[in-house]
């Protein structure tokens, strides 16, 4: 299952907290796409995934925002 979280225009630590909340609702193996504009999110979301046993599958800049794909561990 693919889900999307729009965390654009939110600042630290909200994108991470919303990501955590969204992942809690998902099953293992599900994918979550996170959209964010906070520039620190690129590094923070990577660190978050490493700590929490989730996998950052994709991370890219799309125009004015970042897009991340996380596979729930």
């Amino acid at each position: 299952m693919n889900h999307t979280l729009d965390a654009r225009n939110l600042n630290c630590p909200l994108p991470i907290l919303r990501t955590r909340k969204a992942l809690n609702e998902l099953a293992s193996g599900d994918r979550l796409t996170v959209l964010a504009t906070d520039p620190a999110t690129a590094k923070d979301i990577d660190s978050f995934c490493r700590q929490t046993g989730n996998t950052l599958v994709d991370s890219k800049q799309l125009g004015d925002h970042h897009s991340f794909v996380i596979r729930k561990g």
């Binding site: 600042n11 978050f48 929490t52």
Partner: protein, 202 residues
């Protein structure tokens, strides 16, 4: 030569036993790391709008990482636990605080405004500075303190309050949110801090 094997009377099998031990040790350490839940204890001592952010940001983020978190609120930090938050901020005595307008033409918003200290002591100045800071935070997508605090509560961050502070300042416990896990003193905080991986004084 202080390995156990080297003490054996025959002196044989030293290398095998060392290798076995190293392997077992690594395996056990890896198991221990895998089952270890990181923990953090914070001490929140400040009650201004700006200094309310670090404890709640760190606590909510650590909880999102799956850590066990407890925050000990003492002295002015206790005002962060009031039901009705009325946190203020002022550049008075805080010369590093940038003063910029959160509205108006773009060029003006980027200008840092230098305010003479004497002017900062005029009535209403602190309320105005607080209002501008809140407006700036909203426009930049920074969460308000109420929101961060409820996210902490939701994520089972343990909020602990200093008993001595309420006695000292004659506060009424009914002024505080009911989610406070405990009213304690230093002797209760320290043992949990001793076991935590991260301790910060804010």
């Amino acid at each position: 030569m202080n390995t156990i094997a080297s003490l054996s009377p025959t002196g044989t099998g030293t290398t095998d036993l060392d290798a076995w031990f190293d392997q077992r040790f690594e395996q056990k350490m890896a198991e221990r790391d895998a089952s270890h839940v990181p923990s953090m204890t914070l001490i929140a001592t400040k009650g201004t709008l700006d200094m309310a952010y670090p404890p709640f940001i760190l606590a909510s983020t650590a909880a999102a990482l799956g850590w066990e978190v407890s925050v000990f609120f003492t002295f002015y930090g206790l005002s962060l636990l009031k039901k009705k938050l009325d946190l203020q901020v002022t550049p008075m005595g805080n010369p590093a605080m940038p003063m910029k307008l959160p509205f108006g033409p773009e060029w003006l918003q980027h200008q840092e405004i230098h305010i003479p200290t004497l002017l900062m002591s005029t009535p209403g100045f602190q309320a105005a500075a607080t209002g501008l800071m809140k407006k700036t935070m909203r426009s930049k997508g920074v969460a308000d303190i109420e929101e961060l605090r409820s996210l902490c509560v939701e994520a089972d961050v343990k909020l602990v309050a200093c008993q001595m502070t309420v006695d000292l300042f004659g506060m009424d416990k009914d002024e505080f949110i009911p989610e406070i896990a405990d009213w304690v003193g230093a002797a209760s905080f320290l043992p949990s801090a001793q076991k935590a991986d991260v301790n910060l004084f804010i």
